[in-house]
């Protein structure tokens, strides 16, 4: 009897796995038939407006096919993507698709991108397009932001660039702003004071944590700050 049940369970698991395999095969088949062309080849050509030898607003500096992007629920890995920090554009190189014998660089339509990741010197960075209401003072403008932490509060990084004239030549200088969203408000994190203000409902505990871990907020890297936010989330959950 026991073995009969095992056999039945085995047969059922076979059917289940076949059902799951069938579903993933169908999804693959669907995308190959509905979207046979390179889905990233959707957008304007990207025109260089800077002198790469002087400075570049593109990150990462050394382009490698190590990025990934999610479009229409499907993740495409190992693609050559760059992020233009000055114009807030996602730039795609498609070495396999030539038009007029040229490799084209495409500024990918931002509204089709659900998420993309880049390999930056600071680690893997996950970007998403965030919409902010226009004309509200103190808030960020809509665009792509690195999503570092999502929990009781959200921690994002704004990768940007400012245009400067250096020695009579236009140059683009990289800038980075760190922000926390908590209870419907946005806080720019410049040091310990602003961090404790952003997490004011647990300020005392977070301050103790910073002392214990000897984290200097102003110079902390994103992983250290993420650790603080994780601690804050754990505190909130323990209260709930």
């Amino acid at each position: 009897m026991k073995y009969s049940i095992i056999l039945l369970l085995f047969l059922f698991s076979l059917s289940l796995s076949a059902q799951q395999a069938g579903q993933s095969d169908l999804q693959e088949l669907y995308h190959n038939i509905l979207h046979p062309s390179d889905v990233l080849l959707n957008g304007r050509e990207y025109k260089y407006y800077f002198q790469p030898r002087v400075s570049s607003p593109l990150i990462p500096e050394d382009p490698l096919p190590s990025a990934s992007v999610i479009i229409r629920g499907t993740e495409y890995q190992n693609v050559l993507l760059l992020y233009d920090t000055y114009k807030d554009l996602v730039v795609y190189y498609s070495p396999h698709t030539l038009f007029d014998g040229l490799i084209n660089t495409v500024n990918v339509n931002s509204h089709i991108i659900e998420e993309f990741t880049l390999q930056l010197p600071s680690g893997r960075a996950r970007f998403r397009y965030l919409e902010f209401p226009e004309g509200q003072e103190g808030l960020l403008s809509s665009g792509f932001y690195e999503i570092v932490s999502e929990g009781a509060s959200n921690f994002i990084i704004d990768h940007g660039a400012v245009k400067k004239i250096q020695d009579g030549i236009v140059a683009y200088q990289y800038t980075m702003g760190r922000y926390i969203f908590n209870s419907g408000a946005v806080y720019k994190i410049t040091g310990k004071k602003s961090l404790l203000k952003a997490l004011s409902d647990q300020a005392s505990e977070v301050n103790d944590y910073l002392k214990r871990t000897k984290i200097q907020v102003r110079g902390a890297d994103k992983e250290e700050l993420k650790g603080v936010l994780d601690y804050y989330t754990a505190l909130k959950h323990s209260i709930d």
């Binding site: 076949a18 395999a21 069938g22 095969d25 995308h31 390179d38 050509e45 698709t97």
Partner: protein
């Protein structure tokens, strides 16, 4: 000795089981198929490719009640389940719902966008429909590859008091069907147990009513579940109304005649050919040469939608001239399909039917009114008429088209010329010459063409740009230039190369007219242009709120036959949920039905009576 023999027997049995299992392992397509050898690009919906066929889905179709009067809304909920485990699943995103009359003719058809595991919609029952039984059926595009008997069905009865009342027979209640419900069914560990408690056993008119629900499994543990609630006049339910547990636990045993909920048998031989719809409605078809009837292959073709927003898609036709586009628009749209290369002129387009043709399942039988309910039903008919009289004074039930800011496929243009911002010029030709940057008109052999300057101090692009009028590619530039400037709203220019679905355009010029209907332009070649219904517009159940004396004393009569319909009631981690509503002006017996399914496929059903006096 006996023990020894026993062990040997077990050993033999174990070996046999192992051998059978190994054999099955080798035979089963899910394991034996070498996935690495099969390039995805080479695969098509071919019956010999059996792996995708392993996936089956089913729909459970639920309505707010069983009996309706024409002019009312029929509220529907659909659950998408995987066929094997009966667990909620989110594979297909489009559910087709049809109302068939007794001859199998569809009298109403909608495509419902269901981005989650379940979805709901309201269907208006036209007053042109005759009294009788109707069959509601629901399926996905993927399910169309299998026999129609595998679709989900539910019979509803319709009364049209203004015509064909002679179609309705009257008879005494059928004792066979009485008491035929799931309450006598043996409960299993696949059951979802629902507890429903109201804050009172009876209510007055226009009174607030609140109920708490608790969902647990057979061990009493709280369960997260997706439920629906309907509260309607008791006379509008059938005695033999089936519920979600009949689908999940006891298929096949139905009363004589057509079952209220037809239960599919998933043994049909598949006839493949329909794509699953994992995003929106898949618009499939074939492009053929009108002279030779041969398929037009490897040709970039453009689907566009007539309107002020440019929504173009490009697809390269396949080996048999097939093409597939994904549509996620609401309501009826005017679509145009044409080759991207305007020199391809001798073609015609055949679209695949979107709804299933025909039926190979039983149709509903004759409709008989239960003599014991005649008085109550008569009150229901009067209620419908009162509701319709006061309908214009109430907020519309239809949520309408959501105010979604539509984006042109090219995003923000490089240049946008709003005609009203400038002095009134004579015609579009003059506007282009005087106002529109980066665009020039050339005339050769009496024909005009538009060119875009790419702004690099280089010569213009070598190829003509994509010229759109109200979102539709249009290459007769002279006609465009003759459009009265009074009809033109704006002109948008992209003076960069633009890549769309693998096709490259050297610039885009988009002329948008005031009405967004192409200003009466005529194509100099035959094109495929027709109205196409994508998703049906959303609707939600609304009922009056009598939260203060002013509202409670409103002179608007309230005679809802369905007091409350909530197709999306989710229980929390602790298994609890609640809902509240206000009773109407109509007193009498109401039936409350709560049913649904948990994330792991446990299904449950509960009903209660509610008295309004």
């Amino acid at each position: 000795m006996n023990t020894c023999i026993d062990i040997n027997l077990k050993s033999v049995w174990q070996k046999a089981v192992c051998l059978v299992c190994l054999g099955l392992l080798c035979w089963h397509p899910g394991f034996s198929q070498d996935r690495t050898q099969d390039s995805p690009q080479d695969r098509t919906l071919d019956r010999t490719q059996d792996s995708p066929l392993d996936f089956r889905e089913v729909i459970y179709l639920q309505t707010d009640r069983d009996l309706y009067v024409v002019g009312e809304q029929l509220w529907i909920k659909v659950y998408k389940l995987d066929a094997l485990g009966n667990k909620p699943d989110n594979f297909s995103k489009v559910v087709y719902i049809e109302l068939l009359n007794q001859t199998g003719y569809p009298v109403n058809q909608i495509k419902l966008h269901v981005p989650d595991k379940s979805g709901s919609v309201g269907l208006t029952l036209s007053d042109t429909l005759s009294s009788g039984n109707y069959l509601l059926r629901a399926y996905t595009s993927w399910m169309k590859n299998y026999p129609a008997g595998d679709f989900s069905f539910r019979t509803i009865s319709l009364i049209n008091p203004f015509r064909d009342m002679e179609n309705i027979g009257v008879r005494s209640p059928i004792t066979v069907s009485e008491g035929r419900d799931t309450f006598h069914r043996v409960q299993t560990d696949k059951d979802l147990f629902l507890e429903l408690n109201f804050d009172s056993s009876t209510y007055g008119t226009r009174e607030r009513s609140k109920a708490n629900i608790k969902a647990t499994d057979s061990s009493g543990n709280p369960v997260k579940a997706d439920l629906s609630v309907s509260i309607s006049k008791s006379c509008l339910y059938n005695d033999h109304r089936t519920n979600i547990q009949d689908l999940v636990h006891s298929p096949g045993q139905e009363e004589p005649g057509f079952p209220a909920q037809y239960v599919p048998e998933l043994e049909g031989v598949p006839e493949l050919g329909f794509m699953p719809e994992l995003e929106g409605v898949v618009l499939g078809g074939t492009m053929l040469n009108s002279l030779s009837d041969e398929p037009i292959v490897n040709e970039d073709i453009v689907l566009s939608i007539v309107g002020k927003t440019a929504r173009c898609q490009v697809y390269r036709t396949r080996d048999k001239g097939e093409f597939y586009f994904n549509l996620d628009d609401l309501g009826v749209q005017e679509i145009v399909i044409q080759p991207a290369d305007s020199s391809v002129s001798d073609y015609y387009v055949e679209l695949e039917p979107d709804f299933h043709n025909g039926y190979d399942h039983p149709l509903p039988g004759s409709f008989y009114l239960d003599t014991t309910r005649l008085q109550a039903l008569n009150q229901g008919i009067i209620n419908m008429q009162i509701q319709n009289i006061y309908k214009p004074y109430r907020q519309s039930n239809a949520a309408g088209t959501p105010d979604v800011s539509e984006i042109d496929f090219y995003g923000e243009p490089e240049y946008r010329i709003q005609i009203s911002d400038y002095i009134l010029l004579k015609n579009t030709r003059e506007v282009i010459k005087e106002i529109v940057p980066k665009v020039s008109v050339r005339v050769k052999d009496g024909l005009s063409s538009l060119w875009v300057d790419n702004g690099n101090n280089d010569p213009n692009f070598e190829n003509k740009p994509l010229v759109l009028v109200d979102g539709v590619p249009f290459d007769d530039v002279d006609q465009i230039l003759n459009i009265s400037i009074n009809e033109m709203e704006r002109i948008e220019v992209i003076n960069l190369r633009f890549f769309l679905d693998g096709h490259m355009f050297e610039g885009i010029i988009h002329f948008v007219t005031d009405e967004g209907r192409m200003a009466g332009l005529e194509f100099d070649r035959s094109i495929f242009r027709q109205a196409y219904a994508a998703f049906s517009e959303e609707s939600c159940f609304r009922s009056p709120v009598y939260s203060n004396d002013s509202l409670k004393n409103s002179p608007l009569a309230d005679f809802r036959n369905t007091l409350y319909w909530n197709p999306d009631l989710q229980t929390l981690e602790d298994g609890s949920s609640s809902f509240e509503f206000y009773t109407s002006d109509d007193t009498g017996d109401y039936t409350v039905i709560v049913e649904g399914i948990s994330l792991d496929g446990k299904s449950g059903f509960i009903y209660k009576k509610l008295l309004v006096q």
